[in-house]
Symmetry: C2
Subunit: 146 residues, 2 copies
């Protein structure tokens, strides 16, 4: 089955949640335009979109008997908790320098688990915890990107 | 004249400041190993070092009659003054993502003047001022670098 368009989002649609057939993606995949996946009921699907930027709940197919939608997995992550402006600046700079997708909000940085990042945490002395997170929005790449 | 070694630094040496012949570098050049320059007295010099990392005051030649040393120029710069941890994180991430050399200390970020950076300042809403700065230490590139 081939799907080329986001029809809507579950948030805005009348739907019976039990009928939803899910395509499970990880965070990075929300930015992909072309994906080949198996749904939670075992159906093989090919996603071919014109634009990137899938979100949690995006519906790719819908009729009377079935609804196929996107959901993201719970993923291991770090929640970084800088104590000072300087500490925040140093950690964020290094993450940017490595082009590491991250969410910066509420005085914290959330990144996906990646042991090689722990060097940065050690060098800057920043506090962090490991946690499970669901990333529902794609990371918006800005500026220099390759 | 060809110079291949840092002999010492003016800070640590007995010297008559009036006799110093300067090689004027900009910030980025402190990281270069190979440079061709004209000193303040008009002498042409070739610098060929084994390692990078020149600092303000580094002496490359010294005898009874002359001392040739490095100094950095005053350069136009921005001093960025984030109001919150989140603001600091967002600005620093974008600067890192662009591999922009910067000094992060005392709750501020200092970067060389570059109008294209003002997009970042506007998007994040961060406060900044323009200033003249002398960068005396090379920027230490870490992690991903190309
Ligand atoms: Zn419906
Ligand atoms: Zn890069």
């Amino acid at each position: 089955m081939r799907m080329t368009k986001v029809i809507g989002n579950l948030e805005d649609m009348q739907h019976d949640k039990e009928k939803v057939e899910w395509i499970e993606l990880d965070w990075e995949e929300l930015n992909k335009r072309i994906l080949r996946k198996t749904t939670t009921t075992g159906r093989e699907v090919a996603i071919v979109l014109d634009e990137q930027g899938l979100r949690y709940g995006d519906v790719l197919f819908h009729n009377d008997t079935s609804t196929i939608a996107i959901r993201t997995k719970l993923e291991p992550a770090y929640v970084i908790k800088p104590a000072t402006l300087t500490e925040m600046g140093k950690v964020a700079f290094e993450l940017g320098n490595r082009h590491t997708p991250c969410i910066i909000e509420d005085d914290e940085i959330i990144v996906r688990y990646d042991q090689t990042l722990e060097v940065i945490f050690r060098e800057t002395g920043v506090a962090y915890v490991e946690a499970e997170k669901r990333f529902n929005e794609p990371f918006k790449y800005k500026g220099h990107h390759h």
